[in-house]
Symmetry: D2
Subunit: 384 residues, 4 copies
């Protein structure tokens, strides 16, 4: 069984986001860190480090326009030379001044057209980079009751989604993201999985829901959503991060490792492991160093996955069938309580990796190198 | 315009629940009150009082088996004689000892059969009473991770719903209720509107979602759900009550009257007012007297409705189209800030009612009468 | 170091509550279980089983009037003969019909006198049983804004607490419990630690705060409160349980084992381990068997404690001093991620216990025995 | 009675914050608005508009270093010439790069010294401007468990507060603000009122707690805190704003006007109206125009205050004493449901103001004037 688990873990693919290597922060302050990339090429180099040491992070998500370049095929080649590939394309319709009252749901049709144009441009970039996934997150919403018409905004949203959907090529899909609040504070236009799901069902198989683990109301049982969407064939992937309060965007697994295990268990249970369900990180390393923050996050996902794979399915099913509450829970917890770090270290060693990616990165000298080399220029951040 | 609003308010129908007249409480204590009904017939008499004084509460929801009688047509006639009718039939699959681990989602097929039998019996009672609505709430869920299989439970739920759906006659429908938690504390099988919606869409037009205003995670924007479900043609009705924390089951409008106004606004805006969307109360009068508690609740819904009808749609649309954030909000708030009590008093007087239902009930002497008359027997409660 | 940790774990004392062995449930249903005790003597016998198999649960908390007996010294002797002792005395001022609007904060002075009388009676029982701790939880509060005067209720609370405080004998203390909501749904009179703390400071050293881990608003950082109260010398103990949503009263450590670890870490860090800070369980085993539920809970506390003791204090302090965010977190997580079950098994074996208390209990046949023997009579529950 | 209420309303003083006139936003985007001030002098001019039209906003809070000027007495004179005065001085120890891991609680003593220096500088500015109030909010906290030592941070906090306290002159005080989270996401060093209270009690009468209405966990009963702090003599004032989710910083009264009424009722009830309790606004006008946003907010506070003053204290006390739940609630709600806008319009007219401040501002042409005049330079924002 351990052999099977190690094999399954070896096959795992965790995508890191280009923006995780850039500066990020809160509305109060963005603390700049030394050695941060100045352009998408340098972001790729940093992402390649994460893959180099973990072996399971072979792709990098782009964020447009933050990662806008003149020559996307060149960027893709650059990435390939570093050992990584381009992953999902993330659209951004929240940073232009005209989006103050929304993008595709804006009451002003001119703004809606502009936003839609951007989304279509992102599909163009998919064509140029070979990316098969478009991630759609809309910051659209309202701050005050009555500010805009809830239903009219849904109509506008549906219209835009249809145009983008129709533009998708063979083998391309989009993932629709939902979020309870922030930056809109009264209502968001896609606040929950139900809204995203209903739109995706109407559109067809190329539209799927993406679950950002930080985008729910307090108390939401996220693994239920995962199980439900898998049953419906509508789970497209994850934006992983963790939170204690709101969309804190901390390292995945840092706030509630047990929840992450439960989520990964439902992925495995529901047949979502190893198929099209994308495991993507989406975090803000506000105070911790970026590359180690990503390595740690990748490892946290691996550990949760290993534990999920360790669950004794037979014993669990037997206890569940008997209505043995404590027995079933004990089988489940036995896997969670197991220390899987030795297993993962072994798996890494078997594939030629250092068993301790954090230590290996530290020893590599890369951190000092980028601090020394990346002098001058403008550091990348959420705005660029 | 005032004339139209009064006409619309006159047409409103708010259903009161039979169990609101019985004793209810918390897990800590059920405080018995004097004069509480001992059987469904006495509950009808109390409900008739609410209608007598408000003029807008002509139906009473039943809860089976709490309102089990030998002769339902006789109960319906009794109600009719008192001036009220039988409303929705509420199933109860949570109080038999065998439902400890669930009803229709129970791992034990024998328990599932029993539960399904009860649901079908409820449809029989609809046939006998002429009720057109079945309300389905499942307390099903689990308390511990791993306790049962999330997905298998969905399969069982879907199977049971299909059987009930197929049994529905011409002009009958069921409303599927969702609830985040309680009495299950890790996972409920229908935790949110999305789950209820997905099942209902799959089943067909006779299956709709019912929104209990106390069944959401903190921070959930309920009026968004209302607007969305109306747009999808899947809003069946409301279980009204209010809450500060969890499913507190306080009088509707008592905790957040502004929220109730926003909900009613979306009902009106989405065309749900005056059609099949059912306005039902579902509350626990733990410490306040039952009948006045229902009268106050009915009046609270009326006041929120009146304010919703007062919103100047033209001015609102104009401000929204211009992106005038403060202007649109001001139009909205102007309606909310209006004191509609005089309008409602006038409307009542015009229809021959006392303008002040609370005072009229107090003066009627009914409260003293039931305390004096209802001596001996066993008071009705959640268990009977 | 392992030797020290095992020694520390051997010294741990976890108190189980008499009511955990009785039936409990939700407002929807109390599912009765076979073999449940019919009186305080049988509860003691069950509690003794938990201590017998775990070795760290030597005392049992009483709840008055649920555990009212004619001869407390006899009950104490009975317990002693079974190998356990009487722990904290828990007052109950929430189940008499007169407490509907509160006990010590009730607007009616006669009700307040009655409640105060009960509290003083509990101190009498302390004298008779040798218990040194009185636990005060007040269900007092209001359901509706305006229902009663917030400040007057504080005055009444302060008055009652003063009388009880003054009645405490040498070596006796009381622990004041706070709770955000339930059964009161608008306001509780002791909603948070700050309120409990302020009253206790005013009263003096014999008044301390007890932290029930299920009594907080969503998102509350409980371990911060623990650290703060320890710094102030005002942490009296814990009522352990766990929750996903509200006061779910699940087995401690079942919902968020990482949180339990963080709490235990702050206890250890703040010098609260091994002194007067009481570790008490307070749970509802609604669907799981009672005695195994308690054994599992005791083991969960032990595992969290073991992990807390494993934290490398020196390495942690060094990383913290350097501002090494990821390094400090890694030291902390290293302890959490360690599988401490072998260590605990070893510790048990060294003290002559079975290394697996759950299996030992199962093999003992006690469960079958009580089902067979406890026939007839009335099972104990929250009401008795 | 109406006369008394109008007199009380005329005496009300609501302080507006200089930063409300500057650009603000979320971490996703700060949308710049035309006509926004470029320096503290222009902020004063805008604040003077709010006072000019409402008559109850005579002071402006400063934020240091955002409002740093060379000559504070000159700024104060400039304000006075415009008809307003300098209010509270708000310290800022969250925007320097060195504060990444905290200010006064930072593990690095050099950073702590720097932060303390800033706080003392703020007291100097109080001396120079004649301000009697220092507002202390610390963004200090940690993002990851184990990152720093919770208790050591409390020690450092206490040390810094003591130094500042000792520096306060005759007639000066500081208000300590608490906040559950953001920008720190695991633990904040002053997360709740209890923490702020405990520090203030230890320090003495010049230290008081300030309640920011957006800084609580979901479900927190803020008016209870208000009542409790008033009873303890420790309520220093409010930072008013409103929220649906987290610290949304919307216009006060916009999200839950009933809550604002309940808060103002407790202020009045507890004797906090008209004494030293400061009513201050602290909001982010991210999408609405700034000056009208402030005017509306001031009016919202006035309306809530008017309703609070309208509560029939005698009738309420009588109903409360009788335990008449619905009666007491009805007295309370009667005040809330009253439309107080005519009363306020009358009061304004009687004091020579336009009865409709929003319309008067609109007509004044000031908005166009500042757009036309404030061309060039750098708009003020949270960073400057």
């Amino acid at each position: 069984m351990t052999t099977d688990i190690k094999a399954a873990l070896r096959r795992q693919r965790i995508e890191t986001p280009s923006w995780a290597y850039a500066n990020s922060g809160t509305r109060f302050k963005v603390f700049a860190q030394k050695g941060v990339p100045r352009d998408p090429y340098e972001k790729m180099a940093d992402a390649a480090q994460v893959h180099h040491h973990t072996g399971v992070a072979p792709t990098v998500a782009l964020h447009i326009p933050w990662d806008k370049v003149d020559d996307y095929p060149a960027l893709a080649r650059h990435a390939r030379d570093l050992g990584v590939g381009i992953g999902a394309i993330n659209s951004n319709v929240f940073q232009d001044d005209r989006y103050m009252l929304g993008s595709v749901t804006n009451p002003d049709p001119a703004v809606r057209r502009k936003a839609l144009g951007h989304l279509l441009e992102c599909v163009d970039i998919m064509d140029q980079t070979g990316s098969d996934t478009l991630k759609l997150w809309f910051s659209d919403g309202t701050n005050y009751p009555g500010q805009d018409d809830v239903r009219a905004r849904q109509d506008r949203l549906a219209e835009a989604l249809q145009v983008v959907y129709d533009r998708l090529g063979e083998g391309q899909r989009f993932l629709l993201e939902y979020k309870l609040f922030e930056p809109a504070f009264y209502m968001t236009d896609v606040p929950d999985w139900g809204t995203a799901y209903a739109h995706c069902v109407r559109l067809g198989p190329k539209a799927q829901v993406v679950v950002d683990t930080g985008h729910h109301a307090p108390g939401t049982n996220i693994e239920f959503i995962v199980a439900f969407l898998l049953r419906e064939g509508k789970l497209g992937g994850f934006d992983f991060n963790s939170r204690f309060y709101a969309d804190d965007d901390l390292m995945v697994g840092a706030a509630d490792p047990f929840q992450l295990f439960r989520i990964m268990y439902e992925v495995v249970r529901g047949g979502g492991y190893g198929d099209h369900v994308a495991f993507m990180l989406d975090q803000c390393h506000n105070i911790e160093p970026k590359i180690p923050g990503q390595i740690r996050s990748v490892m946290n996902v691996q550990e949760a996955t290993a534990k999920a794979l360790l669950v004794d399915a037979g014993a669990l099913a037997a206890a569940q069938a008997e209505g043995d509450v404590l027995g079933a829970n004990a089988v489940f917890m036995d896997a969670y309580n197991t220390d899987v770090r030795p297993l993962l270290a072994e798996m890494r060693a078997e594939t030629g990796l250092d068993p301790d990616p954090m230590a290996a990165y530290r020893r590599s000298g890369y951190a000092d190198k980028i601090v020394a080399e990346r002098v001058g220029g403008t550091q990348a951040g959420w705005g660029a």
